[in-house]
Subunit: 183 residues, 3 copies
């Protein structure tokens, strides 16, 4: 007989949130009021991210209704754009290089579960977006994925493996469709 | 000449909301304040769901920003996880078995329209997620779909037909990619 | 050596918002309070859209949590339905014909960027949904796309090229799957 999952046996004690509970509560409030809200101010958002432990470069533009899980697991380079309704669900470390654009509605997803385990163990992995990457609207980047320099993930596509530099990908799972040649 | 749709002739009088208007208004307020909001408390959410007619098991975890249409058309088993921004658009009955995980951003969609009818008739159908099912992040399950025991729908995939037990599906439309073997 | 993008050289001065800054600010507030919110009233929404320069027909139903960028670049026919969480990101002109249904969570996306330019130039294009079109839940229509009369874009599909009249499309990119025959 096939085995079953038992979510009441889930044990997450090995997972490191990376911050004490009070800091997480304060961040949740700041995220609710200033990030996942109608607020526009870029300067305020960079200030708060740094206050909570993120490394944030200059010229970082973060649009309204953005949802960030843990700023202390986040590094953002210079001249980065983060679009409306982008969701950085960074249970693990997310590193965003210079001149990256993450378009509206995209999701960076660092969490996964073991579907072979009855305990449905949480598995997390980092995400790296190298310099000049463009993540298209409503796309999704999964855990343990590095998007190589200046790669492009088209709208509503899913990157569950690494993207090669200067290549354009589309689909679920994302496939190379052509080269990116910058003139 | 091809016929056209006329949405002003749409007639929804056969549709049963399942509750008087005042109950629907109160639920809309509760859903807005406590479910589709930043609120965390799992106990409060199970309490409200039961108050409005849902069957809810023990150990049910419902994350913030969840949107539920009609709790009186909802049944949730034990040890179920419902992720952030999950949308249960249950115009029809939704039954969620024990140990089911619905990941963030997923949509259970019970409504459809007849595209062959000038009146664009509403057609609804129930959704059943059997024991141990995992619906991936940003995925969509359509009306009249049963996801068999311990089936998995991968991220950003679309189930418009039944999923076989212990199989893993991916894509739009979702196709089997491999077996799920729990050790 | 491959060239790189430099987002700090981005120059958007050629882009026409179509309205003075004060009007844009007022619209942002109205959009936040009455559209991208729990508010239901259809009459109020049609009133506000017209006040800010949209052409809006009769019998237009706009559900809660809808996000509209610029009403002065929007034209909506008669008996049009716009579902919950629909996002009309109309940096360019969007024209919606009579008897169109845009289902929940769909995105009309008028913006794009030149991935061959170091300046990552913004490129916008209009979207036309002709009479009787149905845009499925969580689908995406890109810039410069015309969805022909009574065409259907299925759930979670992506239209990046024109859709032929009376055809049903599915997938990313959307492909014809069958004819739409209205009886």
């Amino acid at each position: 007989m096939s085995k079953t999952t038992q979510l009441d046996t889930f044990n997450n004690s090995h997972f490191k949130t990376g911050a004490p509970v009070l800091k997480r509560v304060f961040w949740y409030i700041v995220n609710t009021l200033f990030f996942n809200s109608f607020i526009h101010s870029y300067a305020l958002k960079s200030f708060f991210l740094r206050l909570f432990g993120a490394k944030v470069g200059k010229g970082v533009l973060i649009k309204p209704h953005v949802n960030i899980k843990y700023p202390w697991k986040l590094e953002i380079g210079n001249h980065v754009w983060i679009g409306e309704e982008v969701w950085i669900d960074n249970l693990d470390y997310v590193k965003i290089g210079d001149n990256v654009c993450i378009s509206q509605g995209a999701l960076l997803l660092c969490g996964n579960h073991s579907f072979t385990s009855p305990q449905f163990d949480l598995m997390t992995g980092p995400i790296v977006l190298e310099e000049g990457v463009w993540i298209g609207a409503k796309s999704l980047v999964g855990p343990n994925v590095t998007c190589g320099s200046h790669s492009v993930l088209s709208v509503m596509s899913v990157a569950s493996k690494n993207l090669e530099p200067y290549k354009i990908y589309r689909g679920n799972p994302a496939q190379v469709v052509k080269d990116r040649i910058i003139k």
